[in-house]
């Protein structure tokens, strides 16, 4: 654990003001540019309060930020492998696994940080948020688990390739369906049948619906009757996180040995 924290600390030390600024700004821009724009389009059909859409789409933006964090974390690992920096870790008397743990930790930290920023922004934009601390903790668990799962995929890809171009192409390809083939931006009932099936096997839908149930209450009413049950959200995200980390672990082992 010690080594994982040490390497993680170094990562934070390297975080430039520009990067922090970017991390902060990204979710804000999502809400302001996309959320407000879409609200004008979709919100028209809504019964009363026009802030429903912000609440509805906020969980999706959190999920999308988690994807961004995972991609960034994967490319740090790729960069360290390419430049041989990983050799400094490998000749040190630390557990091999702590290197992987550090990477996962970096990603989850950024993700949770952005999730918090986003909740605050959504709140200021008029979204109603549950004031139940247990719900919040549950929501953060879902976000963390989702981040971990996708981090696993990104780290696995980054362990298998040495080409930044290949890495980004592949990750971007995964990114799009994860966001759009889900209930993140539109209610399930508004989707055609094939997209509904896709959305139901997509972990993004589970983190998003879980957040709607736990944190963004307004979003729930807009999502319709088909919101996934909470237990299934935790189950799916738990499975996704384990699967991702399992993939990362086996790819990581073959990369360092």
């Amino acid at each position: 654990m010690h080594a994982a924290i040490t390497i993680w600390n170094k990562q934070l030390l390297k975080l430039s003001p520009e990067e922090t600024f970017g991390l902060l700004l990204q979710p804000i821009l999502w809400v302001v540019l996309f959320g407000v724009g879409m609200k004008g389009l979709i919100g028209q059909g809504l019964p009363s309060d026009d802030n429903f859409y912000i609440s509805f789409m906020a969980p999706g933006i959190i999920a999308f930020s988690a994807l961004g964090g995972a991609i960034a974390g994967g490319s740090i690992w790729l960069d360290e492998r390419r430049r041989g920096i990983v050799n400094e870790y490998l000749v040190a008397p630390i557990s091999r696994l702590s290197i992987l743990r550090r990477n996962a930790r970096t990603i989850v930290t950024t993700t949770l940080f952005q999730a918090r920023v986003l909740i605050i922004v959504a709140l200021r934009k008029g979204s109603a948020i549950a004031v139940d601390p247990i719900g919040w903790i549950g929501g953060m668990l879902l976000v963390g688990g989702f981040g971990l799962g996708f981090a696993g995929i990104a780290l696995a890809v980054a362990s298998k390739t040495t080409e930044p171009g290949a890495y980004h192409a592949l990750i971007f390809l995964l990114n799009l369906p994860l966001l759009f083939l889900s209930t993140a931006l539109y209610p399930l009932e508004a989707l055609p049948r094939w997209m509904q099936i896709g959305a139901q096997i997509n972990p993004t839908s589970y983190v998003v619906d879980g957040l709607r149930r736990l944190v963004f209450e307004d979003g729930l009413s807009m999502a319709g009757d088909d919101v996934l049950p909470l237990w299934s959200c935790f189950l799916a995200i738990g499975l996704f996180a384990s699967l991702g980390m399992g993939l990362a672990y086996s790819a990581f082992r073959s990369a360092v040995e």
């Binding site: 080594a3 400094e88 870790y89 000749v91 040190a92 008397p93 630390i94």
Partner: protein, 315 residues
């Protein structure tokens, strides 16, 4: 357990698929020695270091550092070694302080030790003034010096330097050499370095192992190796029947050794100045056309040529 040798390698083999990078290397390196593995690129130097520093698993044979088997107790080996890699391996967003501090933390040094060691080492490699600057602003020589300091941060018993001066200008090379020589005196450290520079091995090493095609061909102190070559060495580049010329040269009593390479003949003689005309005469006699002839006090280059039949160019 008493440790007789700092590094002990027996029949080391490392294969990557069909390629055998190291093919039965034996090494015994006594404590407080500077040992240079000298050989061309691709000879197996870096692979040998990778096995000893626990980066790569060996395919056959055995290797131990400070009496610890690298396959059985890799973590214990990691605890007592310092490494600088062939490529520059520095996080260029950090400054020198952060680089050394981070390294110390990886090895669980406490804050006071980290501070004391960083100060001492940055002073030693003369980077005190630049210590607050990010590594990305450093020159190649400065980066090398910082890596050297980092390798010493944890007071290792054995320091591995993989091509410590490759890519540096002569002044920086001389600089690094000086640190390396000092190190051995100050810390009682064992150093294993790889190089493809003859002069580097000759300048620094107590013992040299010439490695080629994954095998150690000859080993000894630079002086021993060089003295095998006879007093002086004449290198002759000739066209024509060089094989016959070599045969004839071997019959001369003043000639101690003759090595024939690709158009190059190397001759070890008792006194070069006096034998030069004799040798030229002989070449004309057998109808060889001499394109270049040079006389030199023997060096490790000549040793290398003798054992490998090839010249190792310093580049």
């Amino acid at each position: 357990m008493t440790v007789t040798n700092s590094i002990e390698v027996r029949g080391l083999v490392k294969r990557y698929g069909d390629v055998t990078a190291v093919d039965g290397v034996d090494l015994s390196i006594a404590p407080n020695t500077i040992y240079a593995l000298l050989g061309p690129n691709g000879a197996g130097k870096t692979t040998t270091i990778s096995v000893l520093t626990t980066l790569t698993r060996l395919s056959a044979g055995s290797a131990s550092v400070m009496g610890l088997d690298v396959s059985v107790q890799p973590n214990a080996v990691r605890q007592c070694i310092g490494v600088t890699f062939q490529e520059t391996v520095l996080d260029d967003a950090l400054n020198a302080w952060q680089t050394l501090d981070f390294h110390g933390r990886l090895y669980r040094q406490d804050r006071a030790t980290r501070k004391r060691k960083s100060q001492e080492l940055l002073k030693m490699v003369e980077l005190e003034e630049a210590a607050e600057r990010r590594v990305r602003t450093y020159s190649g020589g400065m980066k090398r010096r910082l890596e050297l300091a980092r390798g010493l941060m944890t007071d290792p018993d054995v320091l591995f330097l993989d091509e410590p001066t490759t890519g540096l200008d002569p002044q920086n090379r001389a600089n690094i050499w000086e640190y390396i020589r000092d190190l051995k005196q100050r810390n009682g450290l064992t150093l294993l370095l790889t190089t493809h520079y003859m002069d580097e091995a000759e300048e620094l090493a107590d013992r040299v192992g010439i490695i080629d095609h994954g095998k150690i061909i000859v080993e000894g102190s630079p002086r021993e190796l060089v003295s095998q070559m006879g007093a002086d060495s004449i290198t002759l580049v000739a066209s024509g029947d060089t094989v016959r010329l070599a045969e004839r040269l071997k019959t001369l009593t003043v000639v101690e050794t003759v090595t024939i390479g690709d158009q190059v003949i190397q001759i070890g003689v008792d006194s070069g100045n006096r034998r030069l005309p004799e040798i030229i005469g002989l070449a004309q006699e057998v109808g060889c056309h001499i394109e270049d002839i040079s006389l030199a006090k023997p060096s490790l280059s000549d040793v290398f040529l003798k054992y490998t039949g090839r010249q190792l160019r310093d580049k």
